[in-house]
């Protein structure tokens, strides 16, 4: 039943554990990655992100637990499981003395069914057409990153794993990569697994984020994107000249909390306008209205207890 109409999670991490010496690097990590989502893997430096990824792609042995990719165990059916995976682990290290094309040719020979048209197509997709016949040692970091993406998607994987993909990219490159990854997930149904310690980046890129600290999974939460925000209640700061008066005025209808330079209310979008009208009608000066969204960063720091990196 599972194999023919497989619609469950593409990847399952089951009690994944890694012990090196006496240290438990990864502690019973259990995680399901759904289809067609950009899934973020967030944690401070040294929390075990890269180790987890290395275990997912079979570069490191699991001390305990298993990783199931499309129904195949990475431990016992490595070749079947890894066929569905494309990855960049840490930096996109390529053979520098070969050209970009020769690098792709090299990896294309290792998976059956990759035609030379497919290679050209992927080169075009990542925008390297004009430089593909140059040696990789002449490439900039951004171009190597693109070549890395090309080799990872060449065989049409169902799981794309990128370890810190925005490292060394300029803002334009980051934005381009972000858009591209979202497109891969939405249009081609690929599950993209991205690790990062850059919180703001993850917020923009991912549908869901798993947070890991000291090898333990702390939380998995989905991230709201624009459009869903309208109906939601958020914490709104009104900057006014007389905060006390504003508080008293609104006390009956909307209970507020005094804040620096103003008052905050927990209200939805429409109410913001209503409160504003009332304040202005009462003769108060409103200097600014701001939604105090708790950013992922705040939540993250809250959860991981600040700089408590072990």
């Amino acid at each position: 039943m599972e194999l023919q109409t497989y619609s469950g999670p593409i990847v399952q991490l089951k009690n994944v554990t890694k012990v090196i010496g006496k240290r438990t690097i990864i502690d019973q990590l259990t995680l399901d990655l759904p289809e067609a989502e950009v899934f973020g893997f967030l944690g401070p430096n040294g929390s075990g992100k890269t180790t987890t990824i290395r275990m997912m792609v079979g570069l490191m042995a699991l001390t305990n637990g298993d990783v199931i990719i499309r129904g195949h165990s990475i431990r016992t059916e490595f070749e079947k499981a890894i066929r569905h995976v494309g990855a960049i682990v840490e930096n996109p290290e390529m053979y520098k003395y070969l050209t970009g094309y020769q690098n792709l040719l090299h990896y294309s020979r290792m998976v059956p069914g990759i035609t030379s048209q497919r290679i050209d197509e992927v080169v075009e997709l990542v925008g390297l057409t004009s430089r593909i016949n140059d040696k990789v040692k002449t490439y900039s970091l951004g171009m190597r990153q693109r070549l890395g993406v090309a080799q990872a998607i060449m065989h049409k994987p169902s799981l794309l794993i990128l370890d810190e993909p925005t490292n060394g990219l300029d803002p334009a490159g980051i934005r381009e990569l972000r858009d591209y990854l979202r497109k891969l997930a939405k249009e081609d149904g690929i599950t993209v697994f991205v690790s990062s310690h850059l919180l703001s980046e993850m917020e923009l890129m991912c549908d869901r984020v798993a947070i890991i600290q000291s090898g333990k999974l702390i939380d998995v939460r989905s991230i709201r994107h624009e459009g869903e925000a309208a109906a939601a209640v958020s914490n709104v700061l009104f900057e006014v000249d007389k905060p006390d008066e504003a508080l008293r005025l609104m006390a009956s209808s909307y209970p507020g909390v005094p804040a620096q330079n103003g008052v905050t209310f927990m209200v939805d979008r429409d109410t913001i306008a209503a409160i504003n009208t009332e304040l202005v009608n009462a003769g108060l000066k409103v200097y600014g209205i701001r939604i105090l969204n708790k950013s992922l960063e705040d939540q993250f720091l809250e959860m991981t207890g600040g700089e408590n990196i072990v």
């Binding site: 290395r54 792609v57 079979g58 570069l59 490191m60 042995a61 490595f78 070749e79 079947k80 890894i82 066929r83 995976v85 990855a87 960049i88 682990v89 840490e90 930096n91 996109p92 290290e93 390529m94 053979y95 520098k96 003395y97 070969l98 020769q102 040719l105 090299h106 990896y107 020979r109 290792m110 998976v111 059956p112 080799q151």
Partner: protein
Amino acid sequence: MFDFLLLVRNENMKLYRRVRTWIMLGMITLLVLAISIIAKIVSDGDVDNWSMMSIETMVLFQLVTIFTVVVSADSVAGEFSTGTIKLLLIRPWSRSKILLSKYISLLMFALVQAALLYVLTFVVNMLLFGYGGSIVAQETFNSNMNPLGYMLVYYFYQFLGLIIIVTMAFMLSTVFRSSGLAIGLSIFLLLGGSTIAGMLSMLDYAWVDYILFLHLNLTQYMGGSESSGMTGEGMTLGFSLSVLAVYYVVFIALTWLIFNKRDVAA
């Protein structure tokens, strides 16, 4: 099977797209030319092509071994130090097969060099010194065999020794994941090994007979099956081959075992 040949093709591409490889092949060519031309100028015409071919082979086969050791020591360790091993191992191929494709391409590289050396030393010396007939050859080699056939047997014995050294370098490369250490250690053992072995062979212990370096130079058996070299009395070709075979199996087993088990954290 066809797919596996593609892996070997990949390894060959990585080998022959490097300038280093062509410098090595170029050096072999140049040295053969240089030695022969100098011999031609210096000699008074009493040199024949067979003795030149034999001398050059003796010297330059050592170089072929060193080149192959350098390339094989770098083969696995290089992928680790540049980090490319990670992208190489996340393909639908077992680690054993990837390692085997590397090993095969290395042996092919050794074969290419040996063939180049054989053809060059024959052709160049024949052009410079003329073709010495069978009587000349018999005098040079002290054997009734066809001279080219004799050289072929000589190459074969040398090649067996080369395989052992190269396999050892390949093992060191896999164990230490450091090209420098693997190259240094292999060449030290290759060059210093015979000296150490020579000293040890004077000792009167039974285990001395089983030291690898006493058996690497199989050409010492070419006069007959009894050893004529420093290995001393009592050694036979069969005994040397058995000792080498045991070392070979151990090297190969360790290499594959370690490569398969090891966590890749480069």
